[in-house]
């Protein structure tokens, strides 16, 4: 029996069409995965169902739940439904909770608002819900900042399911989380759906996540559902072109024809970085946080070296030390035989390493034109014909020379990442640090950027230090990989060997937790050769 039945849902915002003819059914006890790239309208679909659309929105169509049309209800009736019959979980657990209220109060609040329980009764029920989402060890009087990202997401889930809603909408619930946490949260959601007779609408960009969790999948592109069906069947047949493109891009393997030389470029020997934390007691010793402990490795010329680890493992601190932005307490880092030291790097040395960051939106000063943005590293190595060099760099990354007179807000996320690469390339460094450089991009754009990086490496003999939490990407583009945990490198070796034969317990956990499309669902693709 269908719990929710959406028919011909359409949406325009200030006259701009956003959704067109979106229809799907969601039976009780099932998970529907809504997959698409950013801007495809998948979040807007969920907001339309909840009646939470921005001003200027015009909806058409019907969404039946229990004989009522959600789209036709007024705000008052919707308030009675939100939280009670439809629960919602958002992407960012860091901002979805009120930082000045305890987790117990926040879960209990939902119950009190809907008059489901008295204050005291609500607290008992909140306790029960927190136990259900796996937080039984946590007292109710904890504040959100005392919890990790995964634990906060559990609190958000407890809030969403506090009143045992029939429908749960989860919008990218695990995108901001580490892989091992992601696996646990997905298990929790799946368990809730089965045990409590709920239906889950899971919105995500990640095909592998859907493969493991959803019963049905709907693929969205530009405001339409282009293909839908039972998960396995859809994954095996892939009738629509766009679905095929998504699949090809998500498992894209850039063509790399570089042979790393035996010449060491970057050497890190026994690097230690610790921070002094505030004293706990007046006369006690100040505690130390060891962000990087005794890390050693070598990166050769022309090599791509991966560095994987979960948030807080020290990879960002290590990156800053390699860029010469952070001093070390012990050990040394040498680049091309010269010592890298924060605050004491000659420009010629600094010019040999550049960086590309994750966030294509925060990486540029919004008040400068592209020419000035890309030319910034010339501060290290002044050049006479800057405009020509900028034009050349833009061409190298697949943009047009005329783009240099534009401002950064005129570009899409993928184009911005190309500009970031152009900025890194402009003074011809030997090493480029890619700090989660493709993590924020859609799969098809990500595939293009990975191709571009491989192509540039081949043409310019660059070395990459590729930092990522995404194991599948690291596997596709690196020669060797290091696994970092709690400030230490626990495993280090050739990429293929480590992924096929992990020796360290932690590496095994990471690989096991990474969502995967079952290999036999892919068979057709291999039989047909490359599709794109």
């Amino acid at each position: 029996m269908s719990l929710l039945s959406v028919e011909d849902l359409g949406l325009t915002i200030h006259g701009t069409p956003i959704l067109d003819g979106v229809s799907f059914d969601l039976p009780v006890g099932q998970v529907l995965g809504l997959v698409g790239e950013s801007g495809s309208g998948k979040s807007m679909t969920s907001l339309a169902l909840m009646g939470l659309l921005p001003r200027g929105a015009q909806v058409s169509g019907q969404a039946h739940m229990d004989g009522r049309d959600l789209l036709a209800l007024d705000e008052r009736s919707l308030c009675g439904i939100r939280g009670k019959e439809i629960g919602m979980i958002f992407q960012e657990p860091m901002t979805a909770l009120n930082p000045v209220r305890t987790i117990g109060d926040q879960v209990a609040e939902t119950l009190v608002i809907h008059g489901a329980a008295s204050r005291a009764g609500a607290r008992a029920m909140a306790r029960d819900r927190l136990d259900r989402v796996g937080l039984s060890d946590f007292p109710m009087d904890r504040f959100p900042h005392e919890l990790s990202g995964g634990q906060r997401q559990r609190v958000c889930i407890a809030m969403a399911v506090a009143l045992r809603p029939r429908l749960l909408i989860a919008d990218e619930p695990t995108t901001a989380l580490d892989v091992t946490t992601q696996a646990q949260i997905l298990d929790l959601l799946k368990g809730l759906v089965e045990e409590e007779d709920m239906a889950l609408l899971l919105i995500t960009h990640d095909l592998a996540v859907v493969a493991g969790v959803a019963d049905h999948v709907a693929v969205m592109q530009a405001g339409r559902i282009v293909e839908d069906g039972p998960t396995e069947q859809l994954f095996r047949t892939r009738r629509h072109d766009y679905t095929r493109q998504l699949f090809a891009a998500s498992s894209h393997q850039p063509r790399r024809d570089t042979r790393p030389s035996a010449q060491p470029l970057l050497q890190v020997e026994g690097a230690v970085r610790s921070y002094t934390l505030p004293r706990r007691h007046l006369f006690g010793p100040a505690p130390q946080l060891h962000a990087v402990r005794d890390v050693s490795f070598t990166l050769h010329e022309g090599e791509s070296l991966g560095l994987v680890g979960e948030s807080g493992c020290g990879k960002s601190t290590l990156t800053r030390a390699i860029l010469g932005l952070e001093p070390l307490q012990a050990g040394r880092i040498t680049l091309n035989g010269q010592r890298v030291e924060a605050g004491r790097m000659p420009p010629a040395l600094r010019a040999q390493v550049q960086v590309v960051f994750q966030d294509p939106y925060g990486s540029f000063n919004p008040r400068h034109r592209v020419e000035r943005l890309v030319a910034e590293p010339f501060h290290l190595a002044p050049a006479p014909n800057r405009r020509d060099r900028v034009a050349q760099a833009l061409v190298d990354v697949g943009l047009k020379p005329a783009d240099m007179d534009k401002y950064i807000h005129e570009f899409s996320g993928g184009q911005r990442q190309r500009i970031a690469i152009a900025r890194a390339l402009i003074i011809r460094p030997k090493l480029i640090v890619l700090d989660e450089a493709v993590s924020a991009l859609d799969v098809r754009v990500r595939a293009q950027i990975l191709d571009l990086l491989a192509d540039l490496q081949g043409r310019m003999g660059l070395s990459y230090l590729f930092i990522s939490h995404d194991l599948s990407v690291v596997r596709a583009v690196t020669d060797r990989v290091m696994v970092m945990k709690a400030g230490e490198i626990v495993e280090n070796g050739a990429t293929g060997a480590i992924f096929d034969n992990p020796r360290h317990e932690y590496t095994r956990q990471l690989i096991a937790a990474t969502p995967r499309i079952p290999p036999n669902w892919r068979e057709r693709e291999e039989n047909e050769g490359t599709l794109v």
């Binding site: 932005l325 790097m345 910034e376 501060h379 290290l380 970031a420």
Partner: protein, 272 residues
């Protein structure tokens, strides 16, 4: 881009005061300092559009020249606050958590700990009442306001990736502060500037009212109020007119500040 209504209304009100001040340099209906005992305490209308005071001086002319004093004091005082406060705030943010930051911010706290008007009275009491000392006193109290606003806004920028990219390009903290931080916090500073400007006008009026601002015969809105209060039952227009001038100008500047914030804040722009 749509210009907010508050900005237009505010600009109109504040613009009136600025216009009056500018015109007063070349023309006033009468000599602002010229006394005429025969024509004293005239009500508004006739030859003297806004009446005359107890010395027979033309109120409109005094108001126009007084606007000059108020605006000049406020501009110089805000300028002093910006010139001292913004660099201090940038230095504090660049060395966040360090020695310089600590010194600058604790110095700020020290100035904040005293009521502004009391210190202004102290300064003018020690160095003698004059417009210059009023400027100095108001300027000193503007400095920590700008230092704090600058530091707060700059701190959030220092965590962004484009600042990291500039560091990797070998740029020093001073250079990054000037090239990347300052242009991106300029809108916040402009808004704060207009609000401080209106507070400056109020402070100048307050100091003149207690006799510590501009000295006679220089007309000033604050002193016009002070002189009018003994005759409030006899000639209420003498108190009402400069009072209204102060209220309108301050209100106008605050509206301008509000409107500019709406106009310059990219988040507000998206919302519209």
């Amino acid at each position: 881009m749509k210009i907010p209504l508050t900005l237009l209304a505010g600009a109109l009100l504040a613009g009136l005061a600025v216009l009056a001040a500018l015109v007063s340099f070349i023309w006033t209906p009468h000599d602002a300092a010229g006394m005429n005992i025969a024509a004293r305490l005239l009500p508004p209308g006739g030859d003297h559009l806004l009446g005359t005071d107890h010395f027979g001086r033309d109120v409109l002319s005094m108001l126009m020249v007084g606007a000059r004093t108020s605006i000049a004091v406020a501009i110089v005082a805000v300028g002093m606050g910006v010139a001292l406060g913004v660099p201090l705030g940038l230095v504090a943010a660049a060395g966040r958590g360090g020695f310089a930051d600590e010194i600058i911010m604790r110095g700020n706290d020290l100035i904040f700990a005293f009521p502004a008007l009391v210190i202004a009275i102290l300064i003018t009491a020690v160095f003698g009442p004059s417009a210059v000392n009023a400027i100095l006193a108001i300027g000193i109290f503007n400095t920590p306001v700008f230092a704090r606003v600058t530091r707060g806004a700059a701190l959030s920028l220092w965590t962004l990736d484009y600042i990291r990219a500039a560091e990797v390009a070998g740029k020093g903290r001073a250079r990054i502060s000037l090239e990347h931080i300052l242009p991106n916090i300029a809108n916040i500073l402009i808004v704060q500037g207009t609000i401080q400007f209106s507070l400056g006008i109020l402070a100048e009026a307050g100091l003149s009212y207690v006799g510590l601002g501009a000295q006679p015969p220089t007309p000033s809105w604050g002193r016009m109020l002070a002189e009018a209060q003994t005759m409030i039952s006899l000639a209420p227009h003498l108190a009402l007119i400069p009072g209204m001038a102060i209220v309108m100008t301050v209100l106008g500047l605050n509206l301008v500040g509000d409107g500019l914030r709406d106009l310059l804040d990219p988040r507000m722009r998206r919302a519209r």
